[in-house]
Symmetry: C2
Subunit: 405 residues, 2 copies
Amino acid sequence: MSFSYLTHLECPKCHEEYSPDEVQQLCHCGSPLLVRYNLEEAKANFTKETLASRENSLWRYHEVLPVKNPGNVVTLGEGMTPFVQMEKLGQHIDVPNLFIKDEGIIPTGSFKTRGASVGISKAKEIGVKQLAMPTNGNAGAAWALYSARAGIKATIVMPVDAPTITRKEVAVSGGDLHLVNGLISDAGKIVGQLVKEQGIYDASTLKEPYRIEGKKTMGYEILEQMNWEVPDVILYPTGGGVGLIGIYKAILELRELGWIKDDKLPRLVAVQAEGCAPIVKAWEEGKTESEFWENSETSAFGINVPKALGDFLVLEGIYATNGCAIAVSENDITAAQKEIARFEGNFICPEGAATFAAARILREKDWIKADETVICLNTGAGIKYPETVDIENLPLLQPGEAIKN
Amino acid sequence: MSFSYLTHLECPKCHEEYSPDEVQQLCHCGSPLLVRYNLEEAKANFTKETLASRENSLWRYHEVLPVKNPGNVVTLGEGMTPFVQMEKLGQHIDVPNLFIKDEGIIPTGSFKTRGASVGISKAKEIGVKQLAMPTNGNAGAAWALYSARAGIKATIVMPVDAPTITRKEVAVSGGDLHLVNGLISDAGKIVGQLVKEQGIYDASTLKEPYRIEGKKTMGYEILEQMNWEVPDVILYPTGGGVGLIGIYKAILELRELGWIKDDKLPRLVAVQAEGCAPIVKAWEEGKTESEFWENSETSAFGINVPKALGDFLVLEGIYATNGCAIAVSENDITAAQKEIARFEGNFICPEGAATFAAARILREKDWIKADETVICLNTGAGIKYPETVDIENLPLLQPGEAIKN
């Protein structure tokens, strides 16, 4: 009985294999690496039934996570986020079986925490002392805080327009924070240079192999929370796309484990903003890779990613599951965010709101059928985005004054 | 087998009993009411073992919650928050068995959500259509969002100095928001007048009996997460004090259920800020009630409560468990908040940080022994308090520029 059934790293492009016991970044062919396990062997001890009594975090799936020694696990109790039906909103948009997977309810308030917990744990296991990464905010916050817990030095570079709160999170963790007057792609170049010059660990999206493993636990959890019934559609706000890649990987692993039936895949939907929709463009043109999106812009800052390193894996997940890619407008995002709070009581981030806006459109187009089970993934807490809510003309009462009707 | 073993409401002062099937506020003697259950009968079906397969929220304890019909439960998946050891910080302050119960990791980002979920569910069950409440921010945010989900109209009155984000949460929910140029006690008077004039449901702290029931689930969870071993000390940041009252109630119920041993109670510690410490003053003077604290002030806004309606119940919980009450300085709060993030990766709220500052002092005084198991309750997410982190002199890089060392 092993804590992890990790075997090796594999390049999905050229199939070269690498050892997971030392630092690995990209494959020499330039592709991200994927983590592989001996699932055949895992099956014997790792069963659905064993999960019931496990701890209430993503580490309940430790057999299919890359950390070999439990002593290296860096955890703040992340995962097993709420999975809740949206009855009123579902009726309103004629998707009665509408659910939210709410990744705002997790340490650091965004789904980036999953990648940070697993990525930092593995970094600790292989002896990393210092790392650097570009970020649109939430990932940097999560990696900085988990790095602090692990005793790793973290250098974080983020656009000056990234949500202010994420800057504060890096600062309070004692992380080495830098702002750049540009996009995440500009931050990426700065990190690239630093990494090259100083040989420190590059924790950029997909440049280390373990972040996907954290993200894939969203797929495991959705299936466990659905009692291992495969849903029809999962909508995911797509920037770097690691979550979608991870969920797709989880589905394939769950099939191999024999925990879900082989005859159905959830259709995976990549949701982007009209102001930054490279995956949508590639999908519409039937391509397997995306092109850099010039002058990208959206209030849903986390999905302002003009070119994702893993774009080919995202597109593979979409094509293989008969999914689709769709862009929504800024107005639709803002309206959806408000509507979700008023109907359901969830205050979610604009990226998450985009998935509900997309579900409505896809239902109108009849791409989603009324009887289908649809899951919208909210990637972060609305409380991290105070600027998305306007308050106008609120009168100030004096003590003793009465509320006027 | 009942969903709930609720029997009646009881006044802890004059012992008058009330029906839980209609709206009840305070006892006619002026005291808050407590909820009672038939725990003897509950025992037969409600066992520790049944919990393992239950859903991952506070509703796993539904037999000892006041909602009779599961259809009335208003939930966003709240509860079962992280319970995590703080090894490095624990060593640093010589409390090796130091744990955080992290109530920031919950919908709306604060422990107020527990009271809102249970309180709103019961309000829905007894037919409430409209409610009003004063708040220091977080409770108003939680009650407004859960009211939206339940279809109840919520009027929320908060001090203009309450955390800005909580204002936004009420606004996005569509709640009826009012600001007052004063303290929560001033907001309370405004609500009192509104309630009196219009006969709407008064959801003020302890003026409805069900919020405690939500809060008490923190006690159930701590014990479940400790595998039903009673800890030595629980520190709680005390404003209205409902959480402390609730945890004490949970301990007594768990004894009656026979789930924990009878020979040990956790010492309950009420932590306040030096600028607003009415419970500490009362405890130091051996009194059973507190006096109004004039000109109260603290950055830990949630515990800026000059006089709590349930003060006598808080003090009873402290005396009965051989606990204590302690005030900490603003500097200690700020220093603790930063230290916790740097050692452990948790970005917590100032109220929560106060409990760690208190643990350090109580250890220095040897009131806490080095071998004792100590739990600090963090009541909210640091991301709701961006103003608690200062960032100075952060240089702005231009695209292409390198990080200087």
